[in-house]
């Protein structure tokens, strides 16, 4: 197992280097930020000087080599707009992104699993149809719209929750719910379909034949197996949640990485884009590794040591 983890960690290096190469070349292909950094009446000379000063006149491979050699030492450079080290900016925003992602994921899982199980067990019932219709609704509602509706109702009409910002539990509720609702719907539908499949398998019939209580059959025998696809999807979604919550961050003024990366891309703040992409790819790969390790716990038949 340990060997497997070490091997996967080594693969992470390839992935991160690959991603940094792709993002570096793509963002540089879209033009340099010099024109944006200077006022409209800047002369050609000023433009050229700044371009030279920032090293944009060098060939791309040289620029990448310069970036990579510094990045290895943990120096991702200074933001072209904030004029501070980019890692400082990323580290400041990361806790907010993680907090929102964890809250949305918890909200989604805590509700989705029971709903999925009940729907599967009571298949075809009013409860099943109702919850699956609700799930469809949850999946179809755009985050943006839902966020604003929640805010208008709970903040403006009822005055129960603050409209935006970060710092208190109350401020976390609406962003987490807006973000988590579609996930919850997706997980509930997934749980239901996997549970239906598992419940029709032979070993469940055997368990029932042994006279085990239905609750035990469902909770201990069926659910654990049904969780494997759910863990896979949830793991992937968690990776997306960390950097991909820009709309919710915009609506609720949440200071996460999503908004920062979008601003950085629009303003061609290359060092900042690189740093965020680096951190997000690390988190994404880390999440995948964690999912693989969780498989072993969920299904003892999976053993990575056998791979050698």
């Amino acid at each position: 197992m340990l060997q497997y983890i070490l091997k996967r960690l080594w693969h992470t290096v390839y992935v991160v280097v690959g991603i940094s190469l792709i993002s570096f070349f793509f963002i540089h292909l879209s033009g340099d930020p010099v024109q944006l950094m200077l006022p409209g009446d800047a002369s050609e000379k000023e433009v050229d000087e700044l371009r030279e000063q920032l090293g944009f006149n060098d060939p791309l491979y040289l620029q990448y080599a310069r970036f990579a050699s510094k990045a290895i030492q943990g120096d991702f450079g200074q933001s072209l707009y904030y004029h501070v080290p980019v890692m400082e900016l990323v580290i400041e925003r990361l806790p907010a992104s993680l907090e929102l992602a964890v809250a949305a994921m918890l909200f989604a899982l805590v509700l989705a699993i029971p709903i999925g199980i009940i729907s599967a067990v009571k298949r075809g019932s009013f409860l099943d149809m109702g919850s699956m219709f609700g799930a469809l609704l949850g999946l179809s509602m755009p985050h943006f719209w839902l966020g604003i509706m929640l805010m208008l109702f709970f903040s403006v009409e009822l005055g129960w929750l603050p409209t935006s910002g970060r710092g208190t539990m109350a401020q976390l509720i609406m962003p987490a719910v807006s973000l988590g609702l579609s996930l919850m719907a997706m997980f509930a539908r997934l749980t239901r379909s996997v549970m239906l499949e598992v419940l029709s398998l032979d070993y469940i019939r055997t368990a029932r034949a042994k006279g085990l209580k239905e609750q035990i059959v469902i909770a201990k025998h069926a659910l654990k197996n049904a969780l494997i696809p759910l863990v896979t999807v949830a793991g992937m979604q968690f990776g997306f949640l960390i950097g991909g919550t820009v709309i919710i961050e915009t609506v609720f003024g949440w200071p996460g990485l999503g908004r920062l990366v979008v601003q950085a891309i629009f303003s061609r703040d290359y060092p900042l884009v690189q740093a965020i992409v680096f951190v997000l790819s690390l988190l994404f790969v880390g999440m995948n590794l964690l999912v693989d390790i969780l498989y072993v716990y969920l299904d003892p038949q999976i053993s990575y040591s056998a791979e050698k």
Binding site: I148, V156, W160, L161, M169, Q171, G253, L260
Partner: protein
């Protein structure tokens, strides 16, 4: 029953845990919400409106700019014009920066030299390029010289030259100064939690009028509906960035009011160097083809001011005798025919995508143009690409905007003088007049020069002139605050109502 009681208790506990924070507020704190957070707090290093707004609370300049492009004393005590090229300015006695450093003539010289320091890359240095040098006379007096007579000189200093502490900057460096600045303004930086808020506290040794609020917190909510919701629920006292369609909601809430500030002046730029727009008749046809009245009614509830030339009707030097081009598609067609385009023309119309209001205006304009036989293909561009193509002279027609500053030189020189931007238009007569307008110190004479520029450009149509949309701030009913034409949120003037 026991279960039910527990359930009710748990619900109540949850309600109090979740609902209480954020709803109680300190009366000595003012909360200001903007669209974006500052990129730094060094006023010399940014030209972004939201960044400058925060900075003007921390930093002070030599003068206060006024709504009519005149000035009033700020750090300066008195000033006199020695000759056409020299002003002698004396600072108030006993002013200090937030760290106790004295505000003196040496600090002014240091600040002036710093704005031209290549390391700073100040986007505002072009606005002060008419100035040559600062000469220190004694502790509080100095002379500031220009190359040529420069009429808007003191007004430009009032906006673009913050006085910064030399010793502190030498000690901490430019990077640290940008995140942890020391100024001589009414508020000092207490804490900046990037991404969340900038917290300012009153500087007790401030030389001017003591600000009422002890603490000002600048927050960021990028989404307009959320900002309005924050104002209505009392979480924000002052907000910026209010779209026209949201103004009614604020007023009808009974919780807040609107105060006017600067105006946004969009314009339809024309590439006059290329066919078919090298012909003035085609450019005039564009002006006749746009139904400004209808766009104003449909998109701005009639609140916009129609432009009668390139100088905003609210800017000094606008010629009020000029009338906005009337909507006359027949005349536009006739002009096109006269110019040799009886079947109309096909054009490209570029616009930036980062302002949603611009898209709807562009679509309305394109619909107008098509009625006059001008078929426009819309070209939406992301901010950086739009700007790159603009500078590379790749647009044929394009929509951009400027704020309608009280002082004409603030935008007319930048946009029309060929030394500044000759990307799409050059007119030597206008160049000469713009140079002249800068140098005439007599206000009435100066107004005549800008009237002349306005008339020339009105006829020559380097743009299709559109309208000015007066922007507003939303202010809570508990606060008294009047917006200013410079558009900055200077909280030293805010106080409780009543």
């Amino acid at each position: 029953m026991k279960r039910l009681c527990l359930l009710i208790l748990a619900s109540l506990a949850l309600f109090f845990i979740f609902a209480s924070p954020g709803l109680t507020r300190d009366a000595d704190t003012l909360i200001v919400v903007q669209e974006s957070e500052p990129v730094g707090l060094d006023l010399m290093r940014s030209s972004l409106q939201n960044t400058m707004s925060v900075c003007y609370n921390i930093h002070d300049t030599l003068f206060y700019p006024q709504q009519d492009a005149s000035i009033k004393p700020a750090l300066s005590d008195k000033w006199e014009q020695i000759d056409d090229l020299t002003w002698k300015i004396t600072l108030r006695k006993g002013i200090t920066f937030h760290n106790g450093e004295p505000v003196n003539a040496k600090a002014v010289k240091f600040s002036f030299d710093r704005i031209f320091d290549p390391e700073i890359k100040s986007p505002n240095k072009g606005k002060l390029s008419a100035f040559k040098e600062v000469k220190v006379l004694d502790d509080l007096s100095f002379e500031i010289k220009t190359e040529k007579p420069f009429a808007p000189g003191l007004y430009m200093l009032a906006i673009y030259l913050p006085i910064v502490p030399p010793e502190y900057i030498k000690k901490v460096g430019n990077t640290k100064f940008n995140t942890d600045p020391v100024g001589c303004g009414p508020y000092q930086l207490s804490k900046w939690v990037r991404g969340e808020s900038v917290i300012l506290t009153r500087y007790e040794n401030y030389y001017g009028l003591k600000p009422f609020y002890g603490k000002v917190v600048f927050k960021t909510i990028p989404e307009a509906t959320s900002r309005v919701a924050a104002l209505i629920t009392g979480e924000a006292d002052v907000i910026s960035g209010i779209a026209v369609h949201q103004r009614k909601k604020i007023l009808s809430s009974g919780k807040a009011y609107l105060t006017s500030q600067m105006g946004v002046m969009p314009y339809l730029g024309i590439n006059t160097y290329e066919k078919p727009f090298d012909d003035v008749r085609v450019r005039q046809a564009l002006n006749y083809a746009i139904n400004r009245e209808l766009i104003n009614k449909a998109l701005f509830n009639g609140k916009a001011i129609l432009c009668n030339g390139p100088i905003s009707p609210r800017t000094f030097g606008n010629d009020p005798s000029l009338k906005p081009y009337p909507y006359d598609p027949a005349k536009a067609k006739a002009l096109l025919k006269e110019a040799g385009y009886p079947d109309g023309i096909k054009v490209r119309l570029a616009y930036p995508t980062y302002m949603s209001q611009i898209q709807e205006q562009t679509e309305a304009i394109a619909a107008n143009l098509s009625e006059a036989g001008i078929q426009a293909t819309l070209e939406p561009f992301e901010r950086a690409v739009m700007w790159e193509r603009y500078k590379a002279k790749k647009h044929q027609l394009y929509i951009y905007w400027w704020d309608d500053a009280p002082e004409p030189d603030r935008y007319m020189y930048s946009l029309f003088h060929s030394k500044s931007r000759d990307y799409y238009y050059k007119n030597e007569e206008v160049d000469t007049l713009l140079d002249k307008g800068r140098t005439i110190l007599d206000r009435a004479q100066r107004a005549k020069v800008y009237n002349q520029i306005d008339q020339l450009l009105y006829k020559d149509c380097p743009w299709a002139f559109l309208y000015v949309i007066p922007e507003v701030f939303g202010v809570s009913n508990t606060v008294f605050y009047e917006g200013n034409r410079d558009g900055f949120l200077n909280m030293r003037w805010a106080k409780p109502k009543g």
